[in-house]
Amino acid sequence: MTTRESDREPQGDASDSSWTMWARRWVLKHLPPEKLLPDGQPSYVASWIYVFGMGAIASLIYVVASGLVLSLNGPAWYHVSSLGRFVNSSHLWSVELFFMTMVVHLWGKYWMAAWRGGRVLTWITGVISFAVSIVAAFTGYLLQTNFDSQWIAFQAKDALNAVGIGAWFNVANLGQVFMWHIVLLPLAVAAIVALHVLLVRMHGVVPPLEVAASDAQLRADSPAGTDTTIGGGAR
């Protein structure tokens, strides 16, 4: 008995309307491989100011790695042994570096108005990652379990109660704060940063203000009429 041809052929209509095909088309249209992993960047990207986003990512990688070491060994190790205290301190200093590089990055993007040309979501995911990172750092300070953290928790509880979330986000509940700090908030920061970087790849790096209206590299990327450059290209 032979199998009929039609049994083996993929169903033409079904594959067109399936969610996998829809997703494939969407990804290939918005994030083709040459955009996701480009072989070069426009000449104006050759400036130190473009390095700070990557600096923030590098710091974040160290923050997460040292945080993993801390959580696997526990407070009885990192509050007492000299190696534990060293790793604990390097975790704090990498956070300092993370915030400093992030803020310089933010200043840079602000002064080059990097939200131009349909890049609003890139800017907004940046704002959200800043906000979520601050909450993550806050829960980290609460985990010190010293006079500092006691003081911070004591001050913060009034603010959190005042906005009505104190019952769910309870700074006096150390176990809960621990889970926020080592699971939920790191996952949130990682997810929003991943989205942020994918958006940068999707849109390409924004051209400097002076050349915005004439830049061919940007024009090629955006379909006609979608370029919301300030001045509408009249500059």
Partner: protein, 55 residues
Amino acid sequence: MFSTVLLPLSEIGGGIYLGWGRFLIQFGNLIVIVVMLALFALALVLPFPGTKRPK
């Protein structure tokens, strides 16, 4: 064991504060802000390695 956990009282102080008139800032915070401003300024003026600047 506790001696390694508990800091001496002198180390628990609030840090150094600098003030000019109504303006007050903790020394550590000032350093962080100055470092960020310096990084920003340097990033704009220092040449990026491996590129020739058009004249």
